[in-house]
């Protein structure tokens, strides 16, 4: 038992119950279906923008890229233009691999001691898990645009077709949802099972995982098991995006949908306050987004202080006689 993951788990379960009870028994459908989602989206947008602005307000005084390859030096030495970029296109390429393909995580190794020797193995699973998680999440998000757009753009149809490529079951199993749930469970299990990772994990690390498990779980339940009324959900979603919010009256929307929607709202609202902002932060990381060209071009520090240092004059004043005696040239004779 660990207070960090238990409190996160309890928090998510309580949140889920709140939405279910609130809508199934207390008739708070407008609260959970309209008011909170609007609030959450506003919170997300304003919060995320403020956070990025807050970061951007602090300057980058020094050019501190972590160089991961050969520098640009002599013509006949091949530079690693991506891992040690000296130009803007190089930085863009580096950021492309970093942001879209998680280049640094791909390098991951695992150190161990075997027979008195330290060994390193390539550890690819964290990278695979992270990639699977983020891309399946993105796919799910894109697919959900079907509920918010009328007519449904062709692109979403294409994404769905690809997502349902395996054509198993009715309704056809969409890979993204399953992969998302699987990846989150993997990320959670490594947090729980690897002693070091468990030791560093905070409630703030478990909470979004449980939240996303809740979201994916309710989503999968609704699609494959509860067979909720999709037309009613679309009606609600469209009313929200067209800013004419209305709870569908003639049809019933399942309480599970409200749980799903509420957990998503919580995720949105929680996002700007949390580590989930790594999505924005990765773009601003000075060890990645700067060119290693600080010997070629002067980088300006806006707060560069004017400091008194120990000048040559002070030095010579201190040692003049000894310098003359040793035959060292001096500015002023004694």
């Amino acid at each position: 038992m660990n207070v960090q993951y238990m409190s996160a788990l309890i928090a998510v379960v309580v949140l889920g119950f709140l939405a279910y009870i609130g809508t199934e028994f207390l008739g708070l459908n407008s609260l959970f279906g309209i008011f909170i989602p609007y609030l959450a989206v506003c919170f997300f947008l304003v919060g995320a923008i403020l956070k990025v602005m807050k970061w951007a307000k602090s300057p980058v005084p020094f050019r501190i890229p972590t160089t991961c390859g050969q520098q640009k030096s002599l013509d006949w030495i091949e530079q690693n233009k991506i891992d040690n970029p000296s130009t803007t296109p190089g930085v863009i390429a580096r950021m492309f691999f970093e942001v879209l393909l998680f280049r640094s995580l791909f390098r991951n190794t695992k150190a161990g001691i075997k027979e008195g020797k330290i060994t390193y193995e390539w550890e690819i699973f964290l990278w695979v898990g992270a990639l699977a998680f983020h891309y399946s999440f993105l796919t799910v998000l894109v697919r959900h645009m079907r509920f918010f757009l009328e007519p449904v753009p062709g692109l979403i149809g294409i994404v769905e077709t690809l997502d349902g490529f395996f054509q198993v079951g009715t309704p056809g199993v969409l890979l993204s949802g399953v992969v998302l749930l699987g990846a989150v469970l993997f990320l959670l299990s490594r947090r729980l099972l690897i002693p070091q990772v468990r030791y560093i994990s905070l409630m703030a690390d478990y909470f979004p995982l449980f939240l996303i498990i809740g979201i994916a779980g309710t989503g999968i339940y609704m699609r494959y098991f509860a067979r909720v009324d999709v037309v009613a959900i679309k009606q609600l979603a469209m009313s929200l995006v067209t800013l004419h919010p209305a709870i569908p009256q003639n049809v019933t929307v399942s309480g599970i949908l409200y749980v799903h929607l509420f957990l998503v709202s919580v995720l949105f609202a929680y996002f700007p306050l949390s580590k989930l902002m790594h999505m924005g932060g990765v773009f601003l990381s000075p060890t990645r987004n700067l060119a290693n060209n600080s010997r070629m071009e002067r980088h300006i520090n806006p707060w560069n202080p004017d400091l008194k240092f120990h000048t040559y004059e002070a030095y010579e004043n201190d040692f003049r006689e000894k310098m003359i005696e040793a035959g060292l040239p001096v500015e002023k004779e004694a």
Binding site: I64, Q70, S104, I118, H278, Y315, F319
Partner: protein, 539 residues
């Protein structure tokens, strides 16, 4: 070190049962660096100079110390985007954990870069975030107590600012940056270590870490020239503080002071003699290294300022810098920003090959390995690599030249041209993946030898691999701290492997015009196959 190697290798990395916030740091003997002395802090006009010891219950902090830290933290968040972003974006994925040599060597969870940063983040959350203020420990926040300060002192002086973790972090979080900030904060309370502040104070006054005064600096170099004369039959007369020289040469003072760095200094002198370079040494700017980097950005700037100041006074065209690790981080990433523009200098151009060093066109400072590689490429040096035939050489990439610059091929190219037997260590342990010597960032102090040997274990382990596989017996490097600390590290983990600077190898292979037939190497040892009269008493 009296601990047997097998004992040292029994590394238990099971985390304690208690939360890390409840585990106090270990201040038993050998686990901490000695604090700085009053006179150094007073000379440098730094706050709160006093007599104290980490083993004391009361660290004699100023009465408003919490306010000082809070303000100092805020000031740094406003000055550095890096700090702000790194405080916010960590997801604690743990990818950095076993990338740290101190974690690998000690198993202490607080040596995982992520947890080292959490030591600071927990205070950041408490003081500057809403979630931290409301949720407290659940959000990973905690109140700033004297125990936190003690923990910072312990663990931010168990980080060598090597930046290996930042290679693997998906957001590029750089623990060096975090350690630098934490050390700056500790300085505000007068908490610092002797091994850093003493060199800083020496360097301020005498121009070098070791406090070598001008006349002694000149004498030392002249001793080297005596040795060179004995070995080669040629007398070299380097100039000091000479106005009008084309080039100012600056190298870490460790090269003037301690073996085996001294042999590299001899190598530089021989190289410059061989090509007839118009250069001068300075007794005032007689330090390439900059322990200000391990102190504060202000101190780094003040110490670094001497290089341009002296280059301007002497009227040289540009500067060549010797082999040093952190020195080159300062030059590559900070110097021009802090103390530039160097508009009184010219874009470096090799007077021998005509090569223009475009990559240094703004700082006007060239790394000696770049300079020498260019000379060799243009066939400007007469070399006899067979003089190094008794050596099987491997190369230790120093942290800063590899991860804060990317100087990877230049030294290798030089080695391959002056030695016939070169073997790289495994890929996971070199180039951008290189492992720290375990004693960087001012931690090369004697009292924490066990920690240094543990931190150096991953490096030593890789050397051991090439030692056993290829018979490697010489570890080459381009860093003065490496040259000082790798010999005891090798002695402990991989006996039979010696340490050399790059330009010692160059000096040995280099054929000077009109030199006598060499029977001795720069260490005054008999060259294999030559009948010499050297001293055999050093092994």
């Amino acid at each position: 070190m009296t601990i047997p190697r097998e004992e040292m290798l029994k590394i238990d990395n099971t985390p304690p049962r208690k939360s890390w916030m409840e585990v106090p740091p270990d201040f038993s003997k050998g686990k901490f660096c000695y604090p700085s002395q009053i006179k150094a802090l007073e000379y440098l006009k730094m706050p709160n100079p006093r007599e104290w010891s980490p083993t004391d219950e009361d660290w004699k902090l100023p009465p408003n110390w919490q306010e000082i830290i809070h303000k100092g933290f805020k000031e740094r968040l406003d000055k550095y985007r890096s700090l702000k972003v790194f405080m916010d974006v960590c997801v604690r994925c743990g990818a950095c954990a076993d990338k740290c040599h101190f974690f690998i060597g000690t198993g202490d969870p607080k040596n995982m870069p992520v947890l080292r940063a959490e030591l600071l983040r927990s205070i950041y959350r408490n003081d500057f975030t809403l979630a931290g203020k409301i949720l407290g420990k659940l959000a990973g926040a905690r109140k700033l107590t004297t125990d936190v300060i003690k923990e910072w002192f312990s663990y931010f002086y168990q980080c060598t600012e090597c930046r290996r973790c930042s290679v693997f972090c998906p957001y590029g979080i750089d623990t060096a940056e975090i350690t630098m900030m934490a050390r700056e904060l500790l300085h505000l309370l007068g908490i610092s270590i002797h091994w850093i502040m003493d060199p800083v104070s020496n360097c301020t006054r005498t121009g070098n870490h070791l406090g070598i005064q001008p006349q002694n600096f000149k004498e030392i170099i002249e001793f080297f020239c005596d040795d060179i004369e004995e070995i080669t039959g040629k007398r070299i007369e380097p100039s000091f503080n000479r106005k009008g020289a084309e080039i100012l040469f600056v190298t870490p003072s460790g090269d003037a002071f301690a073996d085996p760095g001294t042999y590299s200094f001899m190598g530089y002198l021989m190289l410059f003699e061989a090509i007839g370079l118009d250069y001068t040494l300075s007794t005032y700017a007689s330090e390439g290294g900059n322990f200000g980097l391990f102190t504060s950005s202000d101190m780094m700037k003040k110490l670094n300022a001497k290089m341009y100041h002296e280059a301007k006074r002497l009227g040289v065209k540009y500067i060549i810098g010797g082999e040093c690790g952190h020195m080159w981080r300062v030059i590559n990433q900070y110097m021009d920003t802090m103390n530039g523009p160097a508009d009184f200098l010219e874009v470096p151009k090799s007077p021998i090959t005509g090569t223009v060093f475009e990559n240094a066109k703004s700082t006007k400072m060239v790394h000696i390995a770049e300079f020498t590689a260019d000379l060799i490429k243009h066939n400007k040096l007469k070399l006899d690599p067979s003089r190094n035939d008794h050596l099987k050489v491997t190369f230790h990439d120093s942290c800063n030249p590899s991860r804060a610059m990317g100087l990877l091929e230049e030294p290798r190219y030089v080695i391959k041209n002056v030695c016939n037997h070169f073997y790289d260590m495994p890929a996971n342990t070199i180039r951008e993946n290189t492992f720290c010597c375990g004693s960087g960032s001012g931690l090369n102090t004697e009292e924490i030898m066990e920690l240094r040997l543990r931190g150096g274990l991953p490096r030593a382990n890789a050397v051991k691999h090439v030692h056993e596989t290829f018979g490697v017996n010489m570890l080459a490097c381009v860093c003065a701290i490496d040259r000082a600390v790798l010999p005891p590290l090798m002695n402990y983990w991989v006996p039979g492997v010696s340490v050399t600077g790059l330009h010692e190898l160059v000096g040995n292979a280099l054929i000077l015009d009109g030199e006598i037939e060499r029977t001795l190497n720069l260490r005054m040892e008999d060259l294999p196959g030559a009948e010499g009269e050297g001293n055999d008493d050093d092994e």
